[in-house]
Symmetry: C2
Subunit: 146 residues, 2 copies
DNA sequence: CAGGATCCCGCTAGATACTG
DNA sequence: CAGTATCTAGCGGGATCCTG
């Protein structure tokens, strides 16, 4: 297969990626992972139920589709499926189908997904931790420009 | 002014934010900061020219509007201005206008912005570092499902 | 249960033109 | 230089209906 030559071409260009350049593929990848649903899916599969519960870094427990849908309150099936497919294609999550009746599908993080989860975690935690300050800043800004 | 009562209301609800909940404001904030341009602006103002140059964590040097536009290749004035305004309103960046002719405007990170920059950095670096592996995974996925 | 397929609206991002 | 204003095309994303 030609996957080797493709991998080799990439190998020699390994350090060349720069998200500041418009035409660089890493710009598109940054756009992909800079997504609310991506962050939340990664966090959910990472073991976060929402708030920081007792389990600090519990092993990446696989979650079923319906379970994910419940945790990511307000997500549409379309967005959830779309996000999961994208993550699967990029090798961030695995999708395991158990042919029961009805069928059971479990999603889990790969090692690659686990590495991005750390960063995603950071985003979500930051938002939750600094929400109050941001709200205060907005009040001040709006009062000043009103 | 009523900013105090608002701040107090927030104070007592400080730990209540949960981005997994649809109606939680932190969900909206997560959506805001999960943005390609936000990440790149934060990184640029953090001192990154793109690749990891010699300066590991150079002080947050203020950048002018045109300088930012140059670094974020491909960004439209609209998106850049819009992103900067949003960041300013949230208290992540400062906007200093020097009344020269023509006018000079410099943007810089606040302490709050600096804290988010760390995470944003992580996203950009992750995208650049794992671009190759993601590309390989996509090839494999597409070959399998073709 | 875990989606696939469609329809369709909204709003956002981009292009263009203008200004203090 | 550093924006603002306006217009429009495109698609992101929700709602809905259907299926193995």
């Amino acid at each position: 297969m030609a996957t080797q030559t493709a991998a080799q071409r990439r190998e020699q260009a390994k350090v060349e990626y720069d998200a500041f350049l418009a035409q660089c593929p890493s710009r598109a990848l940054l756009d992909r992972i800079s997504d609310k649903w991506v962050v939340l899916v990664l966090c959910a599969l990472g073991g976060e139920g929402g708030r920081d519960e007792g389990t600090p870094a519990a092993g990446p427990a696989p979650l079923r589709y319906s379970e994910l849908a419940r945790r990511l309150a307000g997500v549409s099936q379309k967005m959830l499926t779309q996000t999961l497919r994208s993550l699967e294609r990029d090798g961030l999550v695995t999708r395991d189908v158990t042919p029961t009746v009805p069928v059971t599908v479990a999603y889990a993080l790969t090692d690659l997904g686990l590495s991005l989860r750390e960063v995603a975690q950071g985003l979500r935690v930051w938002a939750q931790a600094n929400m109050g300050e941001v709200l205060t800043n907005r009040d001040a800004y709006d009062a000043r420009t009103s």
